[in-house]
Symmetry: C2
Subunit: 393 residues, 2 copies
């Protein structure tokens, strides 16, 4: 056996995540490892917490990154808030609502499903009906930005409904955090989780979470122990809870936290609203270009996520062959469809560091050449021209 | 709010982990992020698996890194193998046996404890008595290398006892993997987990695990779903299981896996037996130096881990003050005692990349100056001289 060092190519990541990582973040991650109880590391943890509070727009004290990917952040929310015998309303309009259902059931609780079509937002009327029909449910859970469909749901309205029926609101913000408006305190979200590798443009491996005081009270008054030792917030907070004295719980992923810190400093320096505006502007340019090529969006305009564009594969086109050619000839990754959408759609991401004009233009040029090979039915360069008009060139 | 980039100091990490990370590993981790389903990434995953099989000395097909720290690796073993109502014998001779107990109980199972003093190995006679007294237990779990005490237990003998009573053997090898002899197949271990940040000298955040065919069969014939969605091996293996087609489960921590790949290439290039010998040799030198200063080891020689040295703080010495001075004046981290040993001992690590003569000599010189300030009762330089004799200088 003789295996050599691995040298990945330089891709442009315009799929559903991970997204391109800033060189500043990669460089930060390669700084020397120090101990997870080193006083200097503890100071950095405090800064990560402050920066995450800014990104989430919250003052929640329990705001921190879980030491594992977004799926573990989801599990953190459910295992801490849900106990055996509880009932939870779960809204499903894509892959990740289904994963929430799995989580609820594995907690020994009952998931009451509210189903909407893939590519449609969660319907508040259906949610209200379900809440009325099931008094005393512990929580209501939904996905703010469905990564499988590029669809936004109206988080503010849905949280209000949950609270009107005395249920906690659990929100999946894996794809929204940093890319489009999200206001944890203003919308009164009780538990939220995200991922490091989407619009924060950090490497994958961490899941920022935040819990309201009401969620904390629910955890404090649990009847049973949290089924996961690793994700038990009453233990994790001994390490992340603030103050000079930190109790060892698990060994923090030190270097990945350097990366998250740097990614959040970049977000702070740009300004959250500016980041949201940047995602929207590049989305408008991409949209103009795609539509000029005759490619249609699946999601209604009002509910589209700027950072994740779900578009229909033109008739007669082998979608996998196009993706492979983009990857091999252009080092450009775009995403395929999941579940029922497999083979029918592409998911083109414009997340974080990848969300910039040069990527929009490069993607349009590569798609145009790959799909039409500089031949009819479209006029050469029409996509680029349409996008450039949005940029004002 | 204005938070700046974080620049950690260059420490020498001689605590219980994380250990020093090779510059080659840090550099590999900073390579460009690519997609977790990119064909080139999938090839790299196959190499990580092969390299881990070498490190564990196993042909187990289910050998892979869990996308989270060692505590999650521990939880992976228990939630997949243990079901509600099962009984599991848990050996405890330090902190991590206690954590195993927590895991067993949170699976709804009963933990039958076999207790040994901290700093003593697990006593096979007690284990045999417990196995005889509790026929039909599902598994027996113990820590091969107790990170809280620097104590080795006789894994081969303990696994044999478990199998003689038809119980699965679950082994914590967080601190042993790569640092001292560990042979998963020869010893017939059924489930084992480790950490990336100890003797593999990778950054923290991953937990290599390996499961035998018998363990897999136990998972396949479970009566209930695994309580953790994130750690459910029947799902994780759709991604890590091999073959060209990988099903998305969670987003892998791409860059941390680059780091693990590089750390394992370094281990392969050095040779596992050479790495074990290096740990032993530097331990002998450290031991000679510490003993020349009158510092005593806690664990009996036969059961000492070369990679983690538990020594008694000399009488009248403020152990925390010494550690702080080593950290601040020498950028040198050593570990404190946990639990009942807090304040009484130091844990001096010689793990992976940190396990080299210059660190042994630097640590001895720094300790000597800090403890005795070039004054009596010991002759100046006596510790260095003793260590150098071991190195043959």
């Amino acid at each position: 056996m003789s295996i050599h060092s691995f040298h990945p190519p330089q891709r442009t990541l315009m799929g559903p995540g991970p997204s391109d990582v800033s060189p500043r973040v990669l460089e930060a991650m390669a700084r020397p490892t120090i101990g997870h109880l080193d006083p200097l590391f503890v100071s950095m943890m405090d800064e990560v917490k402050t920066l995450l509070q800014y990104a989430f727009q919250t003052r929640n004290n329990l705001t921190m990154p879980v030491s594992a990917p977004g799926s573990a952040g989801m599990e953190t929310a459910f295992v801490n808030l849900v106990e055996p015998g509880d009932r939870v309303i779960v809204c499903q309009n894509g892959v990740f609502g289904g994963r929430m259902k799995e989580n609820v059931e594995r907690c020994g609780a009952e998931a009451i499903m509210v189903i909407d079509d893939w590519g449609k937002p969660v319907d508040p009327d259906k949610v209200e009906t379900a809440l009325k029909a099931n008094p005393g449910v512990k929580a209501m859970a939904f996905v703010h930005a469905e990564t499988s469909t590029g669809t936004r749901s109206d988080a503010e309205t849905l949280v209000k409904l949950a609270h009107a029926h005395d249920a906690l609101a659990i929100v999946d913000a894996v794809t929204s955090l940093g890319g489009s408006p999200l206001k944890v305190d203003a919308w009164a979200i009780d538990a939220i989780y995200s991922g490091s590798q989407k619009c924060l443009s950090c490497v994958p491996g961490l899941s920022p979470v935040s819990f309201s005081e009401r969620a904390l009270e629910t955890i404090r008054t649990r009847k049973s122990k949290v089924q996961s030792w690793f994700l038990d917030l009453s233990l994790v907070m001994g390490y992340w809870g603030g103050g000079a004295k930190r109790a060892y719980h698990h060994t923090a992923p030190v270097n990945t936290l350097y990366a998250l810190h740097e990614a959040l400093v970049l977000l702070q320096d740009e300004g959250l609203e500016n980041a949201w505006a940047r995602h929207d502007r590049n989305h408008q340019a991409l949209k103009a270009g795609l539509e000029a090529m005759g490619i249609r969006f699946v999601v209604d305009e009002e509910w589209r996520l700027p950072q994740l564009n779900l578009v229909t594969v033109p008739e007669g086109v082998d979608e996998a062959a196009v993706r492979n050619r983009l990857l091999n000839d252009y080092n450009l990754e775009i995403g395929s469809g999941l579940g029922a959408l497999a083979g029918k759609v592409w998911r083109i991401g414009l997340m974080g560091h990848a969300c910039k004009p040069q990527n929009v233009l490069n993607c349009l040029a590569a798609l145009e050449a790959t799909l039409y090979g500089f031949k009819a039915p479209i006029e050469t360069g029409v996509a680029i021209e349409a996008a450039q008009r949005v940029y004002g060139h």
